[in-house]
């Protein structure tokens, strides 16, 4: 268990060539809490996550991280990808071991792989190939791989968006439990508002492109006490939708124009 890192985003802006996608973003992700980024398509959520995780250099501003990192943490800022990004030539256990092999002894590596496979309910699938797994199981492997490095901060880029609705609901419950147990700072990008209210301590609403912080909503209820049918959360979800609906409609029309 760790208190996690504090990530401070200070005046971040970003442009792809002449296309400004983010402008003047300033945020603070608190240690051990979940920050959810929502907004219409193309508002720069994933770009912001990439900048926060050090995978993309911002055109303006900077991101700082501060906090104690536990001794057994192998990768403080750790991603979970929308498309799972599993190596098809490695088994489930091999995919998890990938990020441990050169850093731990063989015994410690095996022990940590076994630990996270048990945590994510994958023990019986350790020797399976990714192609043999459903989408939900593949994303479990992605989560197991991320947890195996004992991260101080998890960055999840629409981790459930490639899955069917039933699997999404099931995994959402598991995510909530795993995030609570791990106690890491978590940045979670989603376009699904139900996910946002189930997981977020802070819900950052971005405007349409160029993305700017439109509002930050705080949800104090502990993750363990949140349910899909909770009337307060349903009301919050509807409020969020009212905030982004017009932007989403405009963004969708812009997307059609660009594609045409």
């Amino acid at each position: 268990m760790t208190d996690g890192l504090r990530l401070t985003v200070d005046g971040v802006g970003h442009a792809y060539g002449g296309l400004q996608v983010l402008r003047g973003i300033s945020l603070t992700a608190e240690p051990g809490q979940v920050m959810v980024l929502v907004g219409p398509s193309g508002c720069g959520k994933s770009t912001l996550l990439g900048i926060m995780g050090g995978m993309l250099a911002p055109s303006e501003g900077m991101v700082r991280c501060a906090g104690d990192v536990p001794a057994d943490c192998l990768n403080p800022l750790t991603y979970v990808f929308q498309d799972f990004s599993l190596l098809p030539w490695r088994t489930v256990a091999g995919n998890v071991a990938l990020v441990l092999e050169d850093r731990l002894t063989r015994t410690d590596c095996s022990a940590r792989v076994a630990e996270v496979l048990a945590l994510t309910g994958l023990t019986d699938f350790a020797k399976a190939w990714p192609r043999q797994l459903s989408g939900g199981m593949r994303q479990r492997v992605g989560i197991a791989r991320a947890l195996a490095v004992h991260p101080a901060c998890l960055l999840l880029d629409e981790p459930l968006s490639a899955l069917d609705a039933q699997t999404r609901d099931l995994l959402l419950d598991e995510f909530s439990t795993l995030i609570t147990q791990a106690g890491t700072t978590t940045i979670y990008v989603t376009h699904n508002l139900a996910e946002a209210v189930r997981l977020g301590h802070q819900i950052v609403v971005l405007s349409r492109r160029p993305g700017e912080v439109r509002d930050i909503l705080r949800v104090d209820r502990p993750l363990a006490e949140r349910t899909a049918a909770d009337p307060d959360l349903v009301a919050l979800e509807q409020r969020l939708w009212r905030m982004i609906r017009d932007d989403a409609a405009v963004a969708e029309r812009e997307r059609i124009d660009v594609e045409a």
Binding site: G53, M55, L74, N75, L77, T78, Y79, F81, D83, S85, L87, P88, W89, R90, L98, V99, E101, D102, W129, R131, R145, V149
Partner: protein, 264 residues
Amino acid sequence: MSRLDGPVPFRGGGFAPRDRAWAAVATLVGIVLLWQAGASAGLIPTLFLPAPISIARALWSLTVSGELWKNLSVSLMRLAVGWILGTVFGIALGLAVGLWSVMRSPGMAIVSALFPIPKIALVPLFIIWFGIGEGSKLATLAFGVFFPTVIATAGGVDNVPRGLIRMGQSFGLSHAAIIRKIVLPAALPAILSGFRVTVSIAIVLLVAAEMIGAERGIGAFVLSAGNLYDTDNLLAGIVVLSVLGLVVSWMIGRLERIFLKWRA
């Protein structure tokens, strides 16, 4: 207006050809039987195209006398050494071209300029450079194998999903670890496909090089038999080359099954 009444007709299926080993064997056996029948009936002049049974007899005779192995062993050694040399250097340059910008343009410029040159035309030059001995033959094979290997390897590296590389970077894997654990395995299917092409090229160049300047080897044997109008032995040599191609292709298939078992 027309009226439909009855079960919905099935319109799916097809467009999924499957391998049938028995059909491959039956086709080859059928061709040989037809050939033998044509020769026995006098429809095929055996002076120019000997009957399969005569070729089989010649093969048996060459095997028993040890002549076949004397030539085949030399050819196999040349094939193995030349192919391995070309493959090792080809994979090395292919990886460099695929991975590093500083190598990409110069590497591809060299490949584009030299790949189209018919390698057989270079045999006399290689004889001048490396002598009439083994050096010129190995150089011919290695040179012929090198360029397609560079192209297959560089193409394989280019096609590695960028998302996997980003995943490796996001977990803080070193550059070397990303190459070893992500890039190389992901490029392996393309490299192995390249092997199928380069082995065939190597066999063609082996025979050409042995025909130009060798005392032993299947190429030299075929040339010698041709000079003597010994068509039985000439075709026996060609059959050996064909079998060699089949065996090598089978070995590459085994390699693919071992290294790419995850594809299934």
